[in-house]
């Protein structure tokens, strides 16, 4: 469903992505990890065209993302995305955050959008918070609203860009639980995260990145059963040993 072929990207002279190739099939959960600055967020943002890339090709559901003629808004409406800092719209209530794109992009009727929104809020366990504004919610609640907002578009795949990195420890699980549920329901997911517990539980494959390159791309079992390379080993020992 998502296919990257030899993707390279530069900021000026600095190369952030170096010849990255991988793919995510339908229903697969793939975790992308690596040290900060390794290009994992940039890579995931290339998938829905939020970041441009200079070389290579990315196909989503058979459509080329980098092609200038591609209708990016239409393509993006099929890909849900969740951000590190939630990025809820601060001036809109929870309900309206989830409804905005349904009304303006999918052109759903108000009733339809309301119905869908309530359904999703129940799914992420926030039905009682619907009239609040983002700033009145905890980080974990905000991130769950953000997931609901992405799901409201009925996406065929979801991208997660460090969804729990900005959360207090006690709120990480409430967000991961929602993501695990989603994975169990068969959603295609590409997840940038350091949550190795989550990776072990739901990921089918792990991609390890360093200095803009994909260093490892293997099944979860292989990755955790120490068939990984030196750099991945060093990275894991840093994040797991405390």
């Amino acid at each position: 469903m998502i296919e990257l072929r030899n993707v390279s990207k530069w900021y000026g002279d600095f190369q952030v992505l170096d010849d990255c190739s991988t793919m995510v099939s339908k229903g697969e959960v793939v975790v992308v990890c690596g040290p900060s600055g390794s290009g994992k967020s940039t890579l995931i943002k290339c998938v829905n065209g939020l970041e441009e890339f200079q070389k290579g090709e990315i196909q989503f559901d058979g459509i080329s993302v980098g092609n200038k003629k591609t209708d990016l808004p239409k393509l993006r409406s099929k890909i849900g995305m969740v951000f590190q800092n939630f990025e809820l719209y601060p001036h809109l209530s929870v309900v309206n955050n989830i409804k905005l794109a349904q009304l303006k992009v999918l052109k759903r009727s108000k009733e339809e959008a309301d119905h869908k929104t309530i359904q999703l809020l129940e799914r992420v366990g926030l039905a009682d918070q619907s009239l609040k504004f983002p700033a009145q919610l905890s980080g974990g609640q905000q991130q769950r609203v953000a997931i609901a907002r992405a799901l409201a578009m009925d996406p065929i795949a979801m991208l997660f860009d460090e969804p729990t990195s900005a959360l207090d420890p006690e709120m990480i699980n409430e967000v991961l639980d929602v993501m695990v549920e989603l994975a169990k329901d068969g959603m295609t997911m590409m997840v940038v995260t350091h949550e190795m517990g989550f990776a072990r539980r739901v990921a089918k494959r792990i991609i390890f990145m360093d200095e803009g390159r994909i260093e490892e791309d293997c099944s979860t079992d292989e990755f955790f059963d120490s068939q990984r390379g030196v750099r991945a080993e060093a990275f894991l020992s840093k994040i797991l040993h405390h």
Partner: protein
């Protein structure tokens, strides 16, 4: 100091009428200029935040030209020089047939000048929101125009209320420069009263009080607006 105070002068005709008509012109020039400044300034400010290099360039040039020439010089340029630069017929029309030439020139000039300052407020307001909100909107399939319309501008204008209030107040004060091209606004009228009666203290005190009165009303109004549109749970949007 030998000075014969006579506060009665401001209530005697024709001086009282001059004062009333003066403050009327001050308000008219200011509001006409503000409408222009706010609309044009918003457009220019938005253009400065877009990805299109050409429109960004044009907007930047506009801002740099208009905010870097003293207002009084711009007033003279528009009033005395601009009509000469036009083709004959148009120049003639501006000089002879344009309705209320001093008022129109003053309002346009002050509007164009203030637009450059409003544009900078709009630009910084939008940019303070951050790329993340833009990405979030785009990621759900909104177009860039929709992202501005439904996310960046509603949030941005809320952040901009305090600095825009400042600009609105400044326009009232700057409107006094219009007297240099013959608009009989309140400062001009105060001067005129001084020349006729030698009661300069009374005349200029009156003008001062009227300026403060008008700007106070504006400030109160803007505070009400700010309260009305404030976002629940947010103390200050700018401090995000």
């Amino acid at each position: 100091m030998q000075y014969n105070w006579d506060w009665g002068v401001i209530f005697r005709e024709p001086y009282q009428e001059w004062i009333i008509s003066g403050i009327g012109w001050t308000i008219s020039v200011s509001i006409a200029a503000w409408i222009l400044a706010f609309s044009l300034g918003s457009i220019i400010g938005i253009l400065r935040t877009t990805n299109n290099r050409i429109s960004r360039r044009i907007a930047t040039v506009y801002v740099e030209i208009f905010r870097n020439i003293p207002l009084i010089v711009q007033m003279f340029l528009w009033y005395f020089v601009f009509p000469e630069l036009l083709p004959n017929d148009a120049g003639m029309w501006v000089k002879r047939e344009m309705p209320m030439p001093e008022f129109t020139t003053a309002a346009v000039c002050l509007g164009l000048y203030t637009a450059s300052r409003v544009a900078e407020q709009v630009r910084s307001g939008i940019q303070s929101i951050g790329q993340g909100q833009n990405n979030a909107g785009l990621a759900t399939g909104l177009t860039t125009v929709q992202v501005y319309r439904y996310i960046l501008l509603p949030v941005g204008y809320r952040i901009m209320i305090p600095p825009l209030t400042s600009e609105f107040l400044t326009i009232f004060k700057n409107s006094s420069v219009a007297l240099t091209i013959g608009v009989l606004e309140i400062t001009a009228q105060a001067r005129q009263i001084e020349e006729y009666t030698f009661q300069g203290f009374e005349a200029f005190t009156t003008a001062t009080v009227l300026y403060i009165l008008v700007t106070s009303i504006v400030m109160i109004l803007m505070r009400v607006v700010e309260g009305r549109v404030s976002i629940p749970g947010m103390i200050s949007l700018g401090a995000k």
